[in-house]
Structure formats: structure tokens, C-alpha cells
Symmetry: C2
Subunit: 298 residues, 2 copies
């Protein structure tokens, strides 16, 4: 977990990290969270609001986390209410972490203020979020854009193909099959960096691995575009370091699968914030013009 | 094309049908459309607004049709502006026909006023629309929810499996393979009614055909649910007559593929309006509380 203070201009200061397990063991996650937020608020009276990003599913009213695989003790705890009762003058907001990263790009990225786009983060999982008409799209019950779990064929999800561990497995399979020439050794630990460096040096196997990532990403994005009709795509996360090797097959798949209406103004860009996207986006939750698509009705 | 007058209570009167080709040939589609709308307005001064549904893609601002495969002469014609300049006191709105059918259920169906749901129409094509937070969801550029064209596996769409003609092809294939017992004869014309009647009489082949439809529908809905996080599904269109034979495999596929968060309150119901959904929904465009999700910003 990473904490920090974000200025309205997106400058980050006072960052500090904690281990989740440590908190869970010593007094419980929620108690430690409230304590740590309190330390920040007491020592920095200039803080106007606190945004928190969680890697799980949230309630539609954004008052609590409903499914956080790694820290089940947080599930269904009215976390916003707990924080608010301790610090009534402070605004507290929670959001899913991939949606925070999407917001980070909106408020503090190179493409800030872009009306419509989706962010896809390629890492240990495949996360995603979308801004539609300048608002965060969360779907009807609040946890839309979980594209990593969309089905690519009978029972197999996008993550089954292109989350980090499965990309590495695919690379290992290619090495074992010896169909592609490569400088990567059989017992070498495969990382995105190893693959990217090899691809940059013209390694056929590494290039094929990124083609494979782009192929499944393209296949997925075609279906997402059919549902939310959006043609600006930002790629983030560790694996997107190999952006230039992933995009050609991704773009080719999208262009062959969709009519010109969808592809004429297709943009696939690298996300601009890298590791700080989530932290910045959590701060974005506090921005005055921040709204979830649909919540203006409430 | 079907025209009619719809009362605020959803009573339809004065319906009349025209052939599209006839209009295209005799003076052009748009000219005839404006003329016909004029006949209605001149003879029925009580009409407050006119809603029009088109089976194609529309501009995000809902001023014109951008891709209507059957009548390309309508594409990019400022149709709302043309109508408005002839009848300045009347409200004119246009929408995609599947989205109209979705609205029809919202204003005039058995489940009227339901906050969140999607309608899937199973017919010559697979159409769809969704209400999210009581608003029509159209996506970022205005033509979302085209689920019939989502990819089920590499290059193959939902329609490739379960649009009417492909269901009939699948049935024919099963008949030729002779794997399932059936009372349907080899040279018999296969229609949804023939299949449904056979299934009702316990025909194994017909039952397998609807299992197949439910299987692919379930597979598709899993991905749609991951994007828009919505768990109320209405099935309409001619093939949904066999609702009770389609739903078990559809529901089973969804339940095996998603965690309880998504399926605990899953509802799959038959749409209530059948053939009039589109006409009623076009009238729904004129209702005072009608809004597209996101357009409150404008």
C-alpha cells in the first residue's frame, strides 16, 4: 500500500509504503488504515480530502468494498462512514484501483481532460477503466470494465492469455518448442524486461510473444468497443513497456474486425503516468468536477 | 416501416406500414419520411412529439443516422433538422431500433421503471440495449451495446452462432449428422416455430439447438456483464419464443463463469412487449424524463 499527498497540480509528496499482511496481523487492516489516514490529517491540516483505491469490487454507492480477495476482513465494512465519523470535516472517497489509474490519466496525465478513453493496465492482472463523457464509467452495479475477465473463447478469459504469468508461460512454451530463433536461454528467468530487451534486439521469439499479447488484446478490445463504443485506448502497466511491439498486431486485429465507423479515429497510446497513476487517481476522486457516470441522478 | 400514434399510457392507434424500397424508389426515403410524418401531424394536432427508430448507427448527438446498411441515402442527412424546420413546434428524436425496444420496455413494459437491465432481441440479427440508472446507455460515441457483433472466439461473432439463419444452419447440420433423434424432416423448412413446437414435444434435436443458443448467449452475457455490471436480462425477438428451452443452458453458463457477486441476483426474463417494443420505445423518446446516460452534461 502506498500513501502520499497530492497537490491540485499533481505533485506527490510524503509518500510512504506499508505491507498489507503486517496491518492485517497487527490490529486489523481497517483499524490501521484509519490510524494512518489520521497521521496524515493531523500532521497536514491542508489536506482537503482523502481518496482510497482498492484492488477489488466496491458497492455501487461507493461506501464500502464488497470483494477484496487479498484482505477479506475489509469486505462490507462501512469504511467511508468509519473515516467520516473520525474526521467529519474531511471528504472521503473510495474507488477501484484500475478506475483510479484511469482517473489519474484524466486529471494529471499527458492527455488530461480527454472526454472519452479507456485505460488498460497490463501487469500481474489485466485492469481497466473508462471515462465516458468526462465521467468515470462504473456500470450499473458499480464494477464494470473488468475486461481481464471477459471471455475470449469457451471458458477462457483475457487474463488466461495475457496476464504476466501466462505471457511468461507462453514464452517458455515457445522456447521449449524451438520454433522461433531466440537468444533467451531455457533456464533464464523470463520477465517483461528480458522479453522487451530481446525484442528490441530483433529476437524472433520475443517479438512473437508480444504479437500474441497484441492479438488477444485486439480481440478483446473489439468486443469492448462494441459495448461502450469508444475508440481512444491508453495502455499502461509493466508489460506496456513493450508498447511498440504489442500495438501493431493489436491494431491490425481491431482494424480487420470492425467497420470504418469504429476504426477511422482509433487511437492507441501509451499511458503517461506509470506507477503513480493509482495514487494520483485516488487524489482525483477529491476533485470538484469528479463524477461517476450516472450519479448526477442521486 | 411501421408508424403509429402512441398515447402516454402506451395505447397504439392509427398504425400504418410502408415498404422501404418503395420509398427509396419513389422520390427518396427522406422526402417520403417527412411527408408521412406531416400527414400524421396535420391530421392529429394532439401529437406532441415524434420519435423515430432506425436499424443502424446514429451520430452521438442524435441528429442524424451515420450508417444504415439498407438505406444508405439516409446516412449523414440532418434528418432531425429537416423535420424540425418543417414543424418547428414539434419535438423530434431519433434512436437506434434495438435501443428503442429497450426504452419500450422501460416506459410501457411489464417491468416499467426498472433501474438497470439489458434487452437482447433474438431474431434475424441479435440486437441489444441497456438502461443504466434509468437512462439509456449508448456508450461514448453513441452506438454501444452492439453485442451481436462481439467476438466469441477468434473472428467469430455472437451473430455468427445465433442469428436466425445460423441457428437454422446449425439445426440442419444436426439433422444431417443424425446424432439426435428428431421428428423434423430433412427437407422441412426450419423456423423458430418448427423448432419450438418440436422442443415442446420433447424433440432431442430441437432441444439441443436451443441449448446451443443458450450456451452462446450465456458466454456473451458473461462478457457484457463484466463490462457494464448489470444482472437483469430481458430476452425478446422471435427466437425468444423458446425462452424456457434457451434459459437453462444460458443461466448455467453464466453461473459457472462468474463469482456470486454477479450471479446472486441474476434475473433472466422474457421481454413483455414483443412486436410493438420498437414502436412504443420510439414514443418513449418523447417522454419528459427520457435521457441518454451522460447527456445531462450538455
Amino acid at each position: 500500500m502506498k500513501f502520499g499527498i497530492v497537490s491540485p497540480e499533481g505533485e506527490i509528496s510524503q509518500t510512504i509504503r506499508y505491507g498489507t499482511e503486517e496491518w492485517v496481523k497487527n490490529g486489523g487492516f481497517v483499524k490501521n488504515l484509519i490510524k494512518e489516514v489520521g497521521v496524515f490529517l493531523d500532521t497536514h491540516p491542508e489536506i482537503k480530502g482523502v481518496g482510497l483505491g482498492f484492488p477489488g469490487l466496491l458497492s455501487a454507492d461507493r461506501k464500502e468494498v464488497v470483494m477484496l480477495a487479498n484482505i477479506p476482513s475489509v469486505n462490507n465494512v462501512p469504511i467511508v462512514q468509519h473515516l467520516k465519523s473520525e474526521y467529519p470535516k474531511i471528504v472521503f472517497k473510495i474507488e477501484n484501483d484500475a478506475k483510479c489509474a484511469t482517473l489519474g490519466e484524466y486529471y494529471f496525465g499527458e492527455n488530461r481532460g480527454m472526454d472519452n478513453y479507456m485505460l488498460i493496465t497490463l501487469g500481474t492482472g489485466v485492469g481497466s477503466g473508462a471515462m465516458i463523457n468526462k465521467r468515470l464509467f462504473i456500470g450499473a452495479k458499480g464494477n464494470g470494465m473488468e475486461i481481464g475477465h471477459m471471455l475470449m473463447d469457451d471458458g477462457k478469459t483475457l487474463e488466461d492469455y495475457i496476464k504476466l504469468s501466462n505471457i511468461c508461460k507462453y514464452a517458455q512454451k515457445l522456447i521449449d518448442e524451438k520454433k522461433f530463433t531466440t537468444t533467451i536461454k531455457r533456464d533464464e528467468e523470463i520477465t517483461p524486461k528480458v522479453l522487451h530487451d530481446a525484442a528490441c534486439a530483433g529476437d524472433q521469439l520475443a517479438i512473437e510473444v508480444f504479437n500474441y499479447v497484441g492479438h488477444y488484446l485486439g480481440m478483446n478490445v473489439v468486443s469492448v468497443m462494441r459495448v461502450i463504443d469508444l475508440d481512444k485506448i491508453l495502455l499502461g502497466g509493466g508489460i506496456s513497456g513493450a508498447f511498440e511491439f504489442i500495438v501493431p498486431s493489436m491494431r491490425a486485429y481491431i482494424e480487420k474486425s470492425l467497420p470504418p465507423y469504429y476504426t477511422d479515429e482509433l487511437v492507441i497510446k501509451k499511458a503517461s503516468l506509470s506507477n503513480d497513476a493509482g495514487l494520483l487517481g485516488a487524489a482525483g476522486l477529491i476533485m470538484e468536477d469528479y463524477h461517476v457516470l450516472g450519479d448526477v441522478l442521486d
